[in-house]
């Protein structure tokens, strides 16, 4: 018993010592420490190298970088922004930050940064508008998450396909040809990996990729500016759901059992899928032998790709906002923006930076910077309710995709769509944002 007690005491002392060791390691040079939070783990290496460069001119500044999985990150912001325990700098999309902007918890850009942001030809009006609330700009755009179609060129060649699909109908036919089955009829390779399950708003966002070209969107502004209503309870909305149901049940070129998304593409279990440019870096790391190309999103009634702008904000919790803004400005300088594009794969927001040589080296990036007057950009609506709208729509979609009775059942599809739209409007009403 005595020995046990002694051992316990020794262990306790050791534990305290170890903890203190860790604490010391992380809190030295406290005087000039900037913390930055990101929702993208792959961005850590970018901030690390940017911090090292910043140290060359600011030797006494240490930058601490923390990244969270995106979903938890958004929750963390809810927890820490109101209590002023958030980092000095946060990297977040406008829509996730909007509720804090609305609540007056986010400072606007400093004058110097505002001048920088508004310089001619620096940022697209899409990126700036996305950051504007009541005429005030709150965040500085860092990168944009644009979507393109990834396709496996070996599988295309094997099926005798020589170019990327141009329209959704064509893509559907391609997917039918590209899907593979085992002798029992189980799908072993999906033609196009749709997002059919999983939690959170992702399912609705991916559904949007189909919904928008078909002519609908998730919510649109009502007659009164600043009010919104569901915009998919229409022919285009029904057609988009039909597209998914047909894919799973009628022609079975995708289903819930097979692996999905980046994972499936890297494993050679799907021929095509939509995703942002960071996948290029991921493939280079995890499946370097994969032969693939990218292409713009196909057309339907219209043509468009989603663009999510990720911004940098300096928070009210920052003890040295001037220094924080200075670091933010350094993050969007030419060298850093180019480094981020080439090494992480996220597309810079600045338009006045030459990235042609990088695209030449990595031709897969081309589809992401492809422009055409007809090729529209759409993105998350910067209102606080949007997250709940998409999350709840996603949950309904997941249920619908599992419902084989919707196969060839246009009444059922219409009901699913209209029920979901009713819920969307309910949510908007609760946030007092609804308008016909």
């Amino acid at each position: 018993m005595k020995i046990m007690r002694k051992m316990f005491l020794v262990a306790l002392v050791l534990l305290v010592a170890l903890q203190m060791g860790f604490a010391n390691g992380s809190s030295e040079a406290k005087a000039e420490t900037l913390t930055i939070w990101s929702g993208y783990p792959e961005m850590e290496k970018f901030y690390k190298q940017a911090a090292e460069r910043f140290k060359e001119t600011h030797p006494n500044v240490t930058v601490e970088i923390v990244s969270h999985p995106l979903r938890e990150f958004e929750q963390k912001l809810s927890a820490t922004i109101p209590s002023n325990t958030v980092a000095d700098i946060i990297e977040v999309s406008t829509y996730a930050n909007q509720k804090f902007i609305d609540a007056g918890l986010m400072p606007a850009l400093s004058d110097e940064v505002l001048k920088f942001a508004k310089a001619d030809g620096r940022y697209s009006s899409f990126a700036l508008n996305n950051n504007t609330t009541n005429g005030v700009i709150y965040g500085l755009p860092l990168f944009q998450g644009r979507t393109a179609l990834f396709y496996n060129t070996d599988m295309f060649a094997e099926a005798g396909l020589t170019r990327a699909p141009q329209t959704f109908d064509e893509m559907y036919q391609y997917a039918k040809v590209l899907a593979k089955y085992d002798e029992k009829g189980n799908l072993t390779r999906s033609g196009h990996s749709l997002r059919l399950s999983g939690q959170g708003s992702g399912v609705a966002e991916k559904f949007w990729f189909t919904l928008y070209p078909m002519g609908a969107t998730i919510i649109e502004e009502g007659k009164t500016p600043g009010t919104y209503h569901a915009a998919y309870n229409n022919d285009a909305g029904r057609k988009a759901l039909q597209y998914y149901i047909d894919a799973v049940y009628k022609d079975h070129w995708d289903d819930q059992l097979i692996k999905h998304d980046t994972e499936a593409f890297e494993l050679g279990q799907t021929a095509m899928f939509f995703r942002e440019s960071w996948v290029i870096g991921d493939i280079a790391a995890k499946a370097p032998g994969l032969n693939y190309e990218t292409a713009p999103v196909p057309k339907d009634a219209r043509w468009g790709r989603i663009t999510n702008v990720e911004n940098l904000y300096v928070t009210k919790a920052s003890k040295n906002p001037e220094l924080a803004w200075e670091f933010v400005l350094s993050l969007v300088d030419e060298d850093n923006q180019r480094w981020m594009f080439e090494n992480v794969g996220w597309l810079p927001c600045r338009n006045d930076i030459n990235i042609a040589d990088i695209i030449e080296r990595h031709p897969q990036f081309a589809a992401f910077v492809y422009t055409d007057p007809e090729y529209e950009e759409y993105g998350y609506i910067p209102i606080a309710a949007f997250d709940e709208v998409t999350t709840k729509l996603a949950e309904r979609l997941v249920t619908a995709f599992l419902d084989s009775s919707l196969n060839g059942n246009s009444a059922g599809i219409a009901k699913t769509v209209s029920d979901a739209a009713a819920e969307t409007n309910e949510i908007l009403k609760r946030y007092k944002l609804f308008g016909e």
Partner: protein, 319 residues
């Protein structure tokens, strides 16, 4: 006379002194405990009721008093009703299966044999293991294409099942995993209870000509009734709080569909800490509280109030 009096006075004085010391000790020792207790239990529990009557914003949990509106909304909210239903189904099946299996295992294990320590160790293994790693590995076992479970089932000619894909199978999957996790706990409790049953009862029944089966059903089970009830209620209450395994198994693109296994605590978490509808989430917590209260009353009602009896059984096993 005088001396006696003086003695009595000294005695009284000394007693008063002791009483005073006692009182000082009582207050000095109990006050810090009560303070912590109030801070982390009593006040939050009380405040939860208050919050549930308010409409909230991101910055202010008590923006506007709305009376019972949150509760009215709650019982019209399909997601909440779904989570209530899911949680009830989960609690029912996990409790029934884990109790029945645990009784059977305990009956098989009640006779000590050389292998008993091995059995008790292995069956208890999942109980002490934290939930997250366990949920992570079960998620992998349930994988539709490469999972171990589908592989074992394929020996019997069963086609691969997308365990976490479909609402019904996702629920079954999480129930199986949860039963696996707690069955050892229930088993040990029953084992302690069964080993406490005096040999003479069973001998007497046997002399009366009862078969093993009859002894089990007519003698052992009735004697175990208080413990059975206790385990039943505890398992149900714990099952109503289910969160961690749902959180892990629904996360990621290959996770279970959120709504299929949405539970009350999950809904509270999402409303409270994702949409920041504090008041609404607090109202949900009040409903959860009411359910647990009801279950506790049921136990107290049937077992006749005092819990001391069961503690004694427990201690009997520990000695």
């Amino acid at each position: 006379m005088n001396r006696n009096n003086a003695n009595a006075i000294t005695l009284r004085r000394r007693m008063n002194e002791t009483e005073r010391k006692k009182r000082i000790f009582v207050y000095c020792s109990i006050l810090p405990v009560i303070a912590i207790f109030a801070f982390v239990r009593i006040i939050p529990i009380f405040k939860n009721f208050v919050y549930s009557l308010f409409e909230s914003t991101v910055v202010n949990p008590m923006q506007e008093f709305v009376g019972l509106k949150n509760f009215v909304d709650l019982f019209r909210d399909p997601l909440f009703l779904l989570s209530l239903r899911n949680t009830s189904i989960f609690a029912l099946f996990v409790t029934v299966f884990s109790v029945v299996l645990a009784v059977l295992l305990a009956a098989l294990l009640v006779n000590q044999s050389k292998l008993s320590p091995l059995y008790e160790t292995l069956y208890f293994l999942p109980v002490i293991t934290p939930m997250v790693p366990v949920a992570v590995v079960w998620k992998w076992i349930y994988d539709p294409t490469y999972g171990l479970l589908n592989y074992i089932l394929s020996w019997f000619g069963i086609q691969p099942i997308g365990w976490l894909v479909y609402p019904n199978t996702a629920m079954v999957a999480i129930i199986i995993m949860s039963v696996w996790k707690i069955v050892g706990y229930n088993m040990i409790i029953f084992l302690v209870g069964m080993r406490d049953i005096p040999e003479t009862y069973i001998e007497a029944a046997r002399i009366d000509g009862a078969s093993t089966n009859q002894v089990f059903w007519k003698v052992i089970i009735p004697l175990l009734k208080p413990i059975l009830l206790f385990v039943f209620v505890i398992s149900t209450i714990n099952s109503f709080n289910v969160f961690t395994q749902v959180f892990v198994m629904t996360s990621g693109a290959q996770g279970a569909p959120g709504n299929a296994v949405r539970t009350i605590v999950f809904d509270i978490y999402e409303n409270g800490f994702r949409y920041f509808r504090t008041g609404y989430a607090a109202a949900e917590a009040v409903v959860l509280f009411a359910i647990i209260l009801l279950l506790t009353f049921i136990q107290f009602g049937i077992s006749g109030g005092s819990g001391d009896k069961k503690i004694k059984i427990g201690k009997g096993g520990a000695n």
